[in-house]
């Protein structure tokens, strides 16, 4: 894996950002895009564009085939059993809303419990909260331990007879903790509990194998996987997608429409109402190919080295406090600097082209628990280098200088 060649595939690194080279450490927010993806978007629109699945002229047939090819690529990439277990959505957030909404309609009763964790992103909490409001469902939180990890015991002890769903992140976008989804699923399934995984950070950083994980649902955010914005993937086991009601209604998801009744189409159409993000789906095939061309094992190895290096230098930097110390950390280094608010850190780093995120990263529950209103987060992509982390560290030192620490 040659990091310089990989960086060359990303046009943005040729740009100067306010006269600086870009040190992009905000990939957990959204990753940069390789040229192959951009070229595919452009080519599709300028040479092949048509809506899919509706018309039968040449362009429409070609576009439909391209669209379905991506479905097959995603199926293979995440090792799903069936291509119809892949549903395209506008993002992971929509995917999680779809699951919460349809499970809420079909299987949840008042006083049933949903178990989530203190690590969850708002996108894996608010959709369940809607059910708390509309159906009087209870939400319980599995607690983090002092390392920012969720050991399986902390899940086990929150499970009751009433627990119907465990909704849980694969990789925390703040502490970087990788959770033992496979074991959690085994435990859950032994008690008849549905497992919904927020795979937003799992997508770019971990090996995805649905049949091995055996979870019931898995939500992916394509724009974090070197793909276009406005696209997500919901993996759902066929038995669920067949059994649950549709989520949105409209063109393309129906079977027969009469004035007094409507029957819905089969998978995958049932969950793809209206014109989909055609060009984005078609281009996402290139993102998958890009990931495959490097190999997820190599990506994991590269990012692990960076994470270790980052931890090492930040630990040496006094006044930096790393958030969490999970057994298995992927992709993310969150921290605070004693005496400098994360917002100030972000602004000062930005001045030298180092892009990080500051705030609660859509994880207020976690920040409340940690007793901090905000944190700074450096998050990695396949294009990052140790040099990027050195610049991060220099930037932190600059903060300390400005704040006279």
């Amino acid at each position: 894996m040659n990091i310089n060649n990989i960086r060359k595939e990303f046009p943005i690194f040729d740009e100067k950002i306010q006269n600086n080279d870009l040190v992009y450490l905000d990939s957990a927010n959204s990753s940069q895009k390789p040229k192959v993806v951009l070229d595919r978007i452009n080519d599709f629109y300028s040479k092949q564009f048509s809506n899919v699945g509706r018309s039968i002229h040449y362009l429409a047939v070609a576009a439909t085939n391209l669209y379905e090819n991506t479905r097959t690529s995603v199926q293979k990439y995440i090792n799903a059993k069936d291509k119809n277990e892949i549903v395209f959505t506008k993002g992971a957030t929509e995917a999680l809303n779809l699951v919460a909404n349809t499970l809420g309609q079909a299987i949840l009763e008042p006083n049933d419990e949903i178990l989530i964790t203190e690590l969850e992103h708002h996108s894996n909490y608010v959709p369940w909260h809607f059910l708390r409001k509309s159906k009087n469902i209870k939400i319980k939180f599995a607690e983090i331990n002092e390392d920012g990890d969720i050991p399986i015991e902390n899940i086990e002890k929150e499970i009751t007879d009433k627990t119907k769903v465990i909704a849980i992140t694969h990789l925390s976008n703040v502490t970087g903790a990788v959770l033992p989804i496979k074991e959690i699923t085994q435990l859950a399934h032994s008690k008849g509990i549905v497992v919904v995984v927020d795979g937003c950070q799992g997508g770019p950083h971990l090996k995805l194998d649905m049949q091995d994980l055996d979870c019931d649902f898995y939500a992916i955010s394509c724009h974090k996987m070197y793909g276009p914005t406005g696209l997500g993937v919901l993996y759902g086991k066929k038995k669920w997608l067949e059994q649950l009601p549709p989520y949105q209604g409209g063109g393309g998801m129906i079977n027969e429409v009469k004035k007094d009744r409507i029957s819905y189409g089969e998978l995958p159409n049932k969950y793809e109402a209206g014109t989909m993000a055609t060009a984005q789906v078609i281009a996402f095939d290139q993102s998958i190919k890009f990931l495959e061309s490097i190999g997820i094992d190599n990506i994991i190895k590269h990012e692990k080295e960076l994470i270790e290096y980052g931890q090492e230098i930040l630990k040496k930097n006094n006044s930096v406090k790393l958030i969490g110390n999970p057994k298995d950390r992927g992709g993310v280094l969150s921290f605070t600097v004693e005496g400098v608010h994360p917002h100030d850190i972000a602004t000062i780093l930005d001045e030298t082209g180092v892009a990080i995120r500051a705030g609660h990263h859509c994880c207020q529950i976690l920040h409340d628990k940690l007793g901090i209103p905000a944190s700074a987060r450096a998050s990695l992509g396949v294009y990052n280098t140790k040099d990027d982390l050195d610049k991060l560290n220099e930037g932190i030192n600059n903060c300390k200088k400005i704040f006279d620490l």
Partner: protein
């Protein structure tokens, strides 16, 4: 691509004057098929007698020349066959449309096979494959009598 291959004389003729159109009397099995993309629909009726032979078969529905011709030719060829023979023919036909260059069954006579092969023109028109196969899937469903409505989406 070749429109002439798609719209062969025999297809146009069957499309215009479909055989076995209507609801046969005394049918004991039936199924509906539907293509939600275009609204085409077909209803296949058949009478399977005690010897499990297709004593009568007919269809109702509306659709393009390809789908009408396909249903028309299908009902013509299936009439009088045993249910096992019918299933073998169906499978063979669907296999041919999907990938096989030829029909393989030993049940149909050569000139009946030639008739069926007239429908192979749709292979070059992926969006039209469903038109040719809907009635066949529906017949299969009627024979298995699982009551499930067939759609050709996917």
């Amino acid at each position: 691509m070749n429109l002439k291959e798609l719209y062969q004389e025999i297809i146009l003729e069957h499309g215009k004057n479909p055989r076995n159109l209507g609801k046969t009397e005394n049918f004991n099995k039936d199924a509906k098929g539907n293509n939600p993309l275009c609204g085409d629909n077909v209803h296949v009726y058949l009478k399977l007698n005690d010897q499990r032979k297709v004593e009568d078969i007919s269809f109702e529905g509306s659709g393009c020349a390809i789908s009408m011709a396909s249903a028309s030719i299908m009902t013509d060829l299936i009439k009088g066959k045993s249910d096992n023979e019918a299933k073998e023919i169906i499978e063979d036909f669907l296999g041919m449309i999907k990938e096989n260059p030829e029909l393989k069954n030993n049940i149909l006579k050569e000139d009946d096979k030639t008739k069926l092969m007239c429908l192979s023109g749709v292979k070059q028109y992926p969006m039209r494959v469903k038109c040719a196969t809907l009635s066949w899937h529906t017949l299969l469903s009627a024979m298995e009598n699982d009551g499930k409505e067939i759609t050709t989406e996917n």
